[in-house]
Amino acid sequence: MLTTGNHPGDELQQLLDGRLEAERRAQVEAHLAVCARCRRELAALRWVTAAVRKGLPERDVPAAVAAGVAAALDGADRAARRRRPAWVIGLALAAAAVLVVLVTRGGAPDVVAAAAEELARYRAADLPLQLETGDPRALERLIARSTLRFPVRVFDFGMMGYRLAGGGAHRLAGRRSALFAYEDAGGRRVVCQMYEGRITELPAGAERREHDGIQFRIYRTAGLTLVFWQEGDVVCVLASDGDPEEAVQLAYAKAIKE
């Protein structure tokens, strides 16, 4: 039996939501008959629950969101058709995991680890591309319609033998990014991303180089190379599973002094 000094607390809510057993419900209702405080509390809970349940305004889904979902599903279908055997995916992700472990020692690993993982997923045909295109301008137009707040230029590595495969607006460790994916005739792959940030936030453990007055941070392991540099408020990262020095040269070729 409840007394006036022994309030039922969140059992009032369970009473309201019809979740009390009959015997307990009777006890709580008997308490309510003699306790103004609990009556007020129940009334408040009932009022606010009804206020929310009655129906909040629902916004229509913007056409761009629906189109983005359709494009994502299309990309997943295309990736599934190209999907490689599970062991290939496992090897690629294991390589990325090694890099994660290595850079974790140096501090916040998010961006470096995430960039490595995106490359691993792309190698495993497990990274759906928002737009599959070999035309850098088409990709720039798509990204310009996205919610990214910084100007994006899609790198053209055609002279170096890498063909643009596609890309789109993306997220890198929770940050908005633009992503471009490439591959060459030998099956080597490059994934570049741009995001708002500073290379000074990157974890320790990078090799530092300077070329044409631009600072580069290079992370290498397990067959993957990641090269970061700053362009204004944007950090660019080039991730490659090809020759490590070639990856650095690709970055040198495309980096622009801020």
Binding site: Q13, R40, A43, V52, L56, V61, P62, V65, A66
Partner: protein, 193 residues
């Protein structure tokens, strides 16, 4: 279950998920509180759901399954990055609630006149919900707005049912406290006698 023909998979997925895009988008808006983030969250949710569609058991609650994915993506990508800064600190709201329930007998107010609000709700309710700290907002969102059971909502939030219950209780109290002044001024709370 779903295996086999990719086109069949796509068709079955779309039949389940596309009608729920609106509730997912509005839930994403209330979680992220930003339309750009909500758009990204919905897209990522659909992509993940599609890729793990084999894990969905037909006959179970598809909305709860999609919410589970949506909330998981939200927690991993957004929650840590977003500061929780409601206009009124939760402790102050809790004090307001206590003052409301402990007022002396005779100064009672009615608090049950929601019918009088009509079909269109004022934006204050939406704003107060969005201002709740995330843990309480999510509990109110999934139980009261989306009408999941306690058990389904606890599964979405990956917490025990008891935790969900106490977050919901606190969330409702805080929400009432933040709407109390508005409700009184608008005549929805009236002195008895």
């Amino acid at each position: 279950m779903p295996h086999g023909d990719p086109e069949d998979k796509r068709a079955r997925f779309e039949a389940l998920a596309l009608p729920l895009m609106g509730v997912l988008y509005n839930t994403a808006l209330r979680l992220t509180r930003a339309s750009e983030d909500a758009a990204d969250l919905v897209q990522e949710t659909f992509l993940r759901a599609y890729r793990t569609f084999e894990n969905f058991r037909p006959g179970t609650n598809g909305k709860a399954w999609l919410f589970t994915i949506l909330y998981s993506v939200f927690v991993n990508r957004w929650k840590r990055a977003r500061r929780e800064a409601g206009p009124i600190p939760p402790d102050e709201l809790e004090e307001r609630f206590q003052r409301f329930v402990e007022v002396a007998p005779g100064a009672d107010e009615e608090a049950g006149k929601t019918e009088a609000w009509g079909e269109r709700w004022p934006p204050e309710v939406e704003a107060a919900l969005r201002a709740l700290p995330e843990a309480f907002r999510a509990a109110v969102l999934f139980v009261d707005v989306q009408e999941l059971s306690y058990e389904e909502a606890a599964a979405v939030l990956r917490c025990p049912v008891g935790t969900l219950r106490s977050r919901l209780f606190r969330g409702r109290r805080l929400l009432f406290a933040s709407l109390q002044e508005y409700a009184r001024e608008a005549g929805y709370l009236r002195p008895v006698n």
